[in-house]
């Protein structure tokens, strides 16, 4: 029960289980002996546990989806991380002084306008300068 946490959820599940038992009891007459409920408390408990297990399974899925939504960066797995390291290294190797400094400023959160002002060019030109090297390196590395 601890896994489900919320008492309201548990109460709901118990209610649903009770409804199932109640429906089954109402239709007892049309069933064969083998299908009839012998012990009501036992059957209720079984229904309830089935509901609990289903809810727990759903809970696990919900958590996983939330984790995905919060999305680990694409480089969270070792192979992707390795690719990214190579990409950063190669990118920096291909940068001239100005492009590298523009990139470092961008890393620190400067806007392209601010970067452009430092090097007396437009924001667009600053962006294109960095992007051009980045695209070249990506194409070369096929990453």
């Amino acid at each position: 029960m601890k896994l489900l946490g919320d008492p309201a959820v548990i109460a709901n599940l118990l209610e649903e289980a009770a409804a199932i038992v109640s429906r089954r009891l109402r239709s007892q007459s049309s069933r064969t002996d083998a299908q009839q409920i012998q012990k009501v408390p036992g059957f209720l408990f079984k229904c309830f546990m089935r509901k609990v297990n289903r809810a727990k399974r759903k809970q696990v899925v919900t958590v996983s989806l939330r984790e995905v939504a919060q999305s680990k960066p694409s480089w969270a797995d070792p192979a992707a991380e390795f690719d990214m390291k190579i990409l950063v290294d190669e990118f920096l190797d291909h940068c001239d002084f100005m492009t590298q400094d523009m990139f470092l400023r961008r890393v620190e959160g400067f806007s392209w306008e601010e970067i452009g002002r430092v090097y007396e060019m437009s924001a667009h030109n600053a962006l294109e300068r960095v992007r051009h090297v980045f695209q070249q390196v990506r194409a070369k590395l096929k990453i």
Partner: protein, 83 residues
């Protein structure tokens, strides 16, 4: 239909975030070999000049303490300019 040969998009913020965490940790340089003076980093942040700062710039990408310091200097500069 998506082209299967097309490379996966790398978002700018993703690349920048990775680069920052990678460069800030991957090159510890505990002996601080070849590190420029703080004033040189400040000067480069304020008035970048290739002739003067080419070697400093090269060093930054291979020394995490200097990279981190340069990031701090840039952040200070950004704050000062915003005021």
């Amino acid at each position: 239909m998506p082209d299967p040969k097309r490379r996966k998009d790398i978002k700018e913020e993703e690349f920048l975030g990775f680069a920052k965490s990678y460069l800030s940790e991957a090159f510890p340089n505990p002996q601080r070999n070849g590190c420029p003076r703080d004033s040189e980093l400040t000067r480069m942040a304020e008035h970048p000049n290739e002739t003067e700062h080419a070697s400093v710039s090269q060093h930054l990408t291979r020394c995490s303490p200097c990279f981190n310091r340069y990031m701090e200097v840039l952040a200070e500069l950004k704050t000062r300019k915003a005021e």
